[in-house]
Subunit: 308 residues, 2 copies
Amino acid sequence: MSLLVIGSVAFDAIETPFGKTDKIVGGAATFASLAASYFYDKVKIVAVVGDDFPQQAIDSFAAHHIDTEGLQVKQGEKSFFWSGRYHNDMNSRDTLITELNVLADFDPIIPDNYQDCEYLMLGNLTPQVQQTVISRLHKRPKLIVMDTMNFWMDIALNDLLETIKLVDVLTINDAEARQLSGEYSLVKAARKILTMGPAYLIIKKGEHGALLFHEDKIFSAPALPLAEVFDPTGAGDTFAGGFIGYMAKAGEVTFEHMKNAIIYGSALASFCVEKFGTEKIQNLSKQEVNARIQEFINLSKFEIDLEE
Amino acid sequence: MSLLVIGSVAFDAIETPFGKTDKIVGGAATFASLAASYFYDKVKIVAVVGDDFPQQAIDSFAAHHIDTEGLQVKQGEKSFFWSGRYHNDMNSRDTLITELNVLADFDPIIPDNYQDCEYLMLGNLTPQVQQTVISRLHKRPKLIVMDTMNFWMDIALNDLLETIKLVDVLTINDAEARQLSGEYSLVKAARKILTMGPAYLIIKKGEHGALLFHEDKIFSAPALPLAEVFDPTGAGDTFAGGFIGYMAKAGEVTFEHMKNAIIYGSALASFCVEKFGTEKIQNLSKQEVNARIQEFINLSKFEIDLEE
């Protein structure tokens, strides 16, 4: 039994109002697998890098007990590279550079000893590649979570719709939910998207928290109000990784567990944005994570006795 | 002991993507006093209308046990009139007509038997008039809540800052909190505003809920995700009225009561937007209100045991 994470393992170069970085390690599978590793100790990744990817970064996966047998290293090729600049509001950004490199023809090979996968996190990638991973697993996982973005809705909508049909949980942001459904109201958008395949939809609203939709039930999770957002890169991937890591630990797919999983994912994401890249989520203690969860509890708890 | 509401009692004409109205009864004090009346039976209003204001509307205050002795009716003059058109997203609107009429030289006269006021709701109005009301009360109320808007920050900032110094709770939206503080982060904005006078700040975020700040504590209240928002007019006033009505019923000013008061205010506001004007909040049953509160509880409740 294991949790498989697929997605990019890559380099980012980031500019924010607080500073800029050279090439640092990033990528959806990097953030998601690190986040998941805080809750579950059998995380495995499938991804591809070039020979420019530092051994030290691969070692840091091992330090988190993340299995990298499925991490292909392509000799003579370069890793995926993204560079972006965030605006002052930290909610919008410009892409400065996208070099696909090894991602351009990524063939996601699943090692034999990954076939015990019960939890599958499809990090943001070409929908076609996400679908290939599902088809290569001999047994359908107990829970498939898919993250995607507007870019694939623009250029590969049919592939996206085919892949969405196969998953249990879709995570997208509010603008993407509106784009995918053609509905402005998020309630109407969710109703429509829940007919497209996934039984669960998570709408990420950044500083406004997240909404979970399932059948006629809705859960609204708060975001932790932060004085400083230093670098939002990877926050969505970290959220998704924390979410599925908690679900794997819980071991049962229920709405109640998913509510908690969203709080855990949100807590990890709130750490992620405090430093550049993966710096903050490399070395969190259990005490730090629990203290952050307690902040989420304090933030949103109220006691109303309707008999009063 | 009573709850005094000051604000406009007026006519609105509204266009939304769902339809349009002729002149209907609106105004901050109208929405706020109606909302407060669901929780507290000694609500009194101070406001001014012209002789065009229908007796039937005044009677409907009485039906809610709202004291209208302080409602001045100016013979030969016309009531305040606002007309606006909402855009498709229902979050932004254009003002088409503003006729101040009787509001232009409103002198808020406090009847003697209003001097038992312990809870004061300063609905959105000229800050100077809000301040006059405070100065005319012989005894400072136990709780003063002030609602205001960006318009007064633009044209009467000094008066606004003087009035803010005198109140306990300020309710504004997120854009207004940013404008008033000059800070983008709502946490930093709140820290700054809490040094300007109010011990409590409520930041209203519309479809994203509301935040309550006090000392170093924060409470995040969800908004009920709605399939249809029919007419947002008066939602903020209804929220504020429900909030202070619940506080008056609770009888003690504590952070815990304020959390519940925000949920009650949000519930009333969620009804308000379902129909044009005050239509929906004229005749709610206790069962309807309680069922809506239960929806808020279901929406945001989660159970995490940190020992697990």
